[in-house]
Amino acid sequence: MIGLVGSLILAAIILTVAAPVILSYGAWRTRWPRLALAAWHTALLLGVLCLAASLAVSILAAVAQRPGQLSNWFEPTVLVFFGWVGLAVVGGLLALLFTYTEPIGRDDRRLQAEFSRLAAQSTSTCQQVHGFDVVVVKSSAPIALSLSGRESRIVVSSCLTRALSASQLRAVIEHERAHLVQHHRLVSRIAYLNRVCLPMLPAARQLNRTTGLLVELIADDEAARQVGAVNTANALLATAQLSDDEAMKLRARRIAARPPRGSLSSSARVRRTLATLAD
């Protein structure tokens, strides 16, 4: 039994150490961000499952021991010791998780209330896009946000609606809608909680960072599929110029240089425009 428990723990350690090295290698994750995100979170899930299985096996083995079988005292002692230590660690992690989750829930309720007020303001206009409320608020900041929850909403500032064409604005809305439909908040929150509960693990920090980047790239790709790579790249560029945001310019170039599958029109004009944007 000790061998099985040890193997499971070893597998979890190998996953924790090897997964970031393998998954961070090369440019493939920016080309296939959805696959990369799935691989990262699968590695996390496998690591957690290995640890949970090792704990369950050691507890079951310790409980299954009968007094008459105690000729070999070493194995049961190790299993019981590991079981108790494991349970203590799980308890500590659950307490940490609760400590971090509770203020997040409070913030969520505050945000929902603020969004309700924003939407209700007389200067705000509201329309529905594919079942989601899109609220345009009067603001001089070039901002678009999405808030997921029971009442998922997208907020776009009037500054952005003035600066972008109708197609570019649609790209922004599709980007935010992708965040909502694909539950990016949940994915980001898992990575965030993993990081704050295990701050000493480089893999936890890397998962959190990578998740933040990949969900943006996935949403960019989805917007490009819905309204075209040219409109999405132009929306990113125009917003980047308003806010002087280097990351958005690079995201625009990524979409233009290698449009995601299903987003590219075959027309020569579109290809020329994309080539210009990518330069």
Binding site: A27, T30, Y100, I104, D107, D108, R109, L111, A113, E114, S116, R117, L118, A119, A120, Q121, S122, T123, S124, C126, Q128, D133, V137, K138, S139, A141, I143, A144, L145, S146, L147, S148, R150, E151, R153, V155, S157, H175, E176, H184, S188, R189, A191, V196, R209, T211, L213, A219, T239, S243, D245, E246, A247, M248, K249, L250, R251, R253, R254, A257
Partner: protein, 124 residues
């Protein structure tokens, strides 16, 4: 027949009515302020009000034997969209409920994108 709308739209309408009213209103009075034929059912209205009270956007006040009346927790003038949008966007991080079009990418993410795109210099 009642018009079917989503919950967010109803909450918005209720808040607007409460903001424009000079005194707290009962659920039935709020329904009366809806355009003809657009008022939701009383049970729907009570659910919406209950949700707004839970969010602290609306205050529930006892009206003695006549039940309860409702008022907006703060006047509309106390909310400037600019300040709220800025506060909302500033409050977002990778653990928060908000996701922004601009993203939350930092220097390392930018370096990664630059290396992938083969650009050493900041984008024009």
């Amino acid at each position: 027949m009642a018009v079917r709308r989503n919950r967010g739209e109803l909450e918005t309408s209720v808040l607007r009515i409460l903001w424009s009213a000079e005194r707290p209103l009962s659920a039935r009075q709020i329904m009366d302020d809806f355009p003809a034929g657009a008022a939701p059912a009383l049970t729907t209205m009570l659910t919406v009000l209950d949700r707004l009270v839970k969010k602290t956007t609306v205050t529930k006040i006892s009206n003695g034997a006549n039940g309860f009346v409702f008022a907006a927790s703060a006047p509309e003038s106390s909310f400037t969209a600019d300040a709220m949008v800025s506060a909302l966007s500033a409050s977002s991080d990778r653990g928060a409920a908000l996701l922004q079009f601009a993203g939350e990418l930092d220097r390392q993410d930018i370096e990664l994108l630059r290396s992938v795109l083969g650009t050493d210099e900041p984008s024009e």
